[in-house]
């Protein structure tokens, strides 16, 4: 009944991409560039580059609460309110808990961005490559299943996406953090350089490097062609950048796709399920609910990419039931929704350094230094599996003595002085995907668009606790030996999810009996459906995953188009 207005022909495309975030944007760019008529479905509203960044040029005093989120919003939305970027200047880009409920079987803070561009608008822009120490991890250490790919399979695709995205970084020559295609790095601060040199001199296999990030430190012709210019170091990225100084779908891949004339973008379109044709043994399209009219419409294509972000990608597949797939699309093995994992961000440490009093920094910088994983890299050496990376950030703040009142106080706060160098780190720990860490659909409750509510059941384990303890011990030792003082460690006890690195549930693997996707990100059991967002990840590594999603997506589109031409899918 819903399809009376347009013919099936008008609703037929060469490719459908579900989601317009960092991986969906890449799928859109690759498909349209290769000449395929591509429909991108986005459940949220449209956000146009430049036009839809309402706060981007606002001064601090123009925000009524100077950045703070009002208590009433926090009380209604406790999970999203814990996100570091959910502040007065960018809260319009985040989903409020109340608007889209999910069920926490264990505490889980799900951070979502329902709009064109998804979370690529507000991401933290760290782009570190994975290595074979990551891809070979599960096989070596006996957890999850073996990745069906190795670094060599993805390396050219890392290069391919890095050149287009624009990554600022140094070639550091570290085996477990491969170098890439880099634009110049920005400065480390004096204390960061000091710590880098200290660690290099005192630890054989530990490194402090400049954190590689998706910022145009020196734009190349390919970036100018996208309409992006040099990063102006505003560090207001989460508001959307009028310079396109950092990479987002909105500033980069989506306008690029649009220019081909092959893109159809449909916002306000939540995907209910994927349509499976029992006779042809293929997916033929998707069922879409218009979030405004609540009308359901079907769209058709030869190939479907699911890039709805990890939790919703699982949800869509679980909800795509048919006679052939009663447990969800492609789920012969029963592993769909299982082996869900995240990054352990609980540990942080801070201190100060009393040297370099006559040196300071000037301006602002949108990244920090980084310590690649140094635990259990070459071989197992601790009582826990895997390891952690850490951020490292050091600078000086203007401070004043705020005691008293009157002319004295006014004088002091009007003449702030440079404090000592502060330093700080946070951990990014690999967690082990486990069968019981699972996403399921609620049997009765549905949202207002008729889509089942998702249960999230994932928590910390003993391995995570041991790793956290080791982070505190090792960082405290390094900080102490480096002469840092006033060292303070802290466990945020934050729930999983707040790391915004949720992964798995539709994992890649060699064997259809134990995995959902093959080495090309195709569903083993329905080969014209590909999953290339966080849901596809077999293990989590310690590195920020977005760069890997982008590379896997470009690689998978290349495969899909080749297979389409051969008539294989």
């Amino acid at each position: 009944m819903a399809n009376i207005n347009t013919s099936a022909k008008d609703r037929t495309f060469d490719a459908i991409v579900i989601g317009s975030g960092i991986s969906g944007g890449w799928a859109a760019k690759e498909f349209t560039e290769k000449g395929l008529k591509t429909l991108v479905l986005e459940r949220g509203r449209d956000v146009k580059h430049l036009k839809d960044y309402p706060t981007t040029n606002m001064y601090p005093w123009e925000f009524p609460h100077r950045g703070e989120v009002p208590e009433a919003i926090k009380a209604e939305n406790p999970s999203i309110s814990r996100c570091y970027a959910f502040k007065e200047d960018a809260m319009h880009f985040f989903v409020k808990d109340k608007e889209h409920p999910y069920i926490q079987d264990k505490p889980f803070d799900l951070i979502r961005g329902y709009q064109v561009g998804g979370k690529s608008l507000m991401w933290a822009r760290q782009t570190q490559r994975w290595s074979n120490f990551d891809f070979e991890g599960p096989a070596r250490d006996g957890f999850a299943v073996d990745w069906p790919i190795r670094y060599e399979d993805i390396a050219p695709w890392y290069s391919y996406v890095e050149k287009f995205v624009g990554i600022s970084g140094n070639k550091d020559g570290i085996p477990n953090l491969p170098d890439g295609e880099f634009l110049p790095a920005m400065d480390l601060t004096r204390v960061e350089t000091y710590f880098k040199d200290f660690v290099a001199a005192n630890y054989k296999d530990r490194h402090v490097i400049y954190g590689r990030c998706a910022h145009l430190s020196e734009p190349q012709p390919i970036h100018i062609e996208q309409g992006r210019v040099k990063c102006q170091k505003r560090t207001l990225c989460q508001r959307g950048c009028p310079f396109g100084g950092y990479f987002s779908s909105n500033s980069s891949t989506l306008p690029w796709a649009e220019k081909t004339g092959n893109l159809t973008m449909r916002p306000f379109s939540v995907v209910h399920s994927i349509i499976y044709d029992e006779k042809r043994g293929k997916a033929t399209g998707v069922r879409v609910v218009d979030t405004n009219t609540k009308e359901m419409t079907e769209y058709y294509a030869n190939v479907i990419f699911v890039n709805a972000a990890a939790v919703n990608t699982n949800l869509i597949l679980l909800n795509s039931v048919s006679h052939r797939f009663p447990q969800g699309l492609g789920n012969d093995s029963g592993v769909l929704g299982k082996y869900f994992a995240f990054h352990n961000y609980r540990g942080h440490i801070s201190a100060q350094y009393d040297g370099f009093k006559d040196i300071t920094t000037d301006g602002r910088r949108p990244t920090s230094a980084y310590l690649p994983r140094f635990r259990n890299v070459q071989k197992q050496e601790t009582d826990f599996l895997r390891g952690y990376a850490a951020g490292f950030n050091g600078g000086r703040r203007l401070t004043s003595d705020d005691s008293g009142f009157g002319v004295g106080l006014k004088d002091r706060i009007s003449n702030e002085e440079l404090g000592p160098w502060y330093v700080g780190s946070h951990m990014m720990g690999e967690t082990i995907p486990k069968e019981e860490s699972q996403l399921t659909l609620d049997k009765t409750s549905k949202d207002e668009w008729g889509i089942p509510t998702v249960h999230i059941n994932v928590g910390y384990d003993d391995n995570d606790e041991k790793m956290l303890k080791d982070f505190f011990e090792q960082m405290t030792e390094m900080y102490t030996k480096a002469g840092f003082t006033n060292i303070k460690t802290g466990d945020s006890h934050q729930a999983p999810g707040l790391d915004i690195h949720e992964m798995g549930g539709v994992r890649m693997g060699h064997d259809p009996k134990t995995s959902m996707l093959n080495k090309w990100n195709q569903l083993h059991a329905c080969n014209n459906v590909y999953v290339t967002d966080g849901a596809c990840m077999t293990s989590t590594s310690t590195q920020n995953p977005s760069l890997t999603y982008m590379a896997l997506t470009a690689r998978a589109v290349d495969h899909a188009v080749t297979e389409l031409k051969k008539g294989n899918i």
Binding site: R190, Q232, K233, G363, K410
Partner: protein, 182 residues
């Protein structure tokens, strides 16, 4: 779902409490801004203005009064503090006024600059976790400083906030800094 129902209920209760209080508020002017949660009237706002102006006085340069710190303090207290903190602050405000009357014989607004300063000096010495008037003073002072150091005046004339710094130097001599920027 249960959370939102509870919140909704609370709001209903607050609104009805506000209506119940209305008649007694008729003698004094309401606050200049629309408050959702706080029971603060125009007299209280005037007192806050004088308190803020005592904390950061107007000299040759603008002070808390010129940046309307009292309005910012009220906005923040009304929107960004929970009910418990709001109650603690308003109770402290009443005690602050009572203490002023006891010490100076009249309200804070009617007190001389010397009387105001002596009151604040005595509160500086008190334990804010035990004395409600001192708690009120310390919280209001923090909000006043926040209002002042985040004001357009301060961020353009005192320590310039740069919207587009377009540079980052990780290691430069302090003496070569051309301006203090945020």
């Amino acid at each position: 779902m249960p959370v939102s129902r509870r919140t909704a209920l609370k709001q209903v209760l607050l609104v009805s409490a506000g209506i119940a209080l209305l008649p007694s508020c008729l003698h004094t002017a309401p606050a200049s801004l629309k408050l959702k949660n706080l029971d603060v009237n125009g007299d209280d706002e005037k007192m806050l203005e004088e308190l803020a102006a005592t904390i950061i006085p107007t000299t040759k340069t603008p002070g808390a009064r010129e940046v309307k710190a009292q309005q910012f303090a009220l906005t923040m207290m009304d929107d960004c503090f929970n009910k418990e903190a709001q109650q603690k602050w308003t109770i402290g405000m009443k005690e602050f006024e009572a203490l002023c009357k006891k010490k100076n014989g009249h309200s804070f607004v009617k007190s001389t600059p010397a009387e105001r300063e002596s009151l604040l000096q005595s509160l500086e010495k008190e334990d804010a976790s035990k004395v409600p008037a001192a708690h009120f003073y310390q919280v209001t002072k923090r909000l006043t400083v926040q209002a002042y150091t985040n004001s357009e005046y301060y961020l353009t004339k005192v320590e310039e906030y740069e919207l587009v710094p377009a540079r980052f130097h990780g290691s430069i001599p302090v003496k070569d800094l051309t301006k203090k920027t945020l």
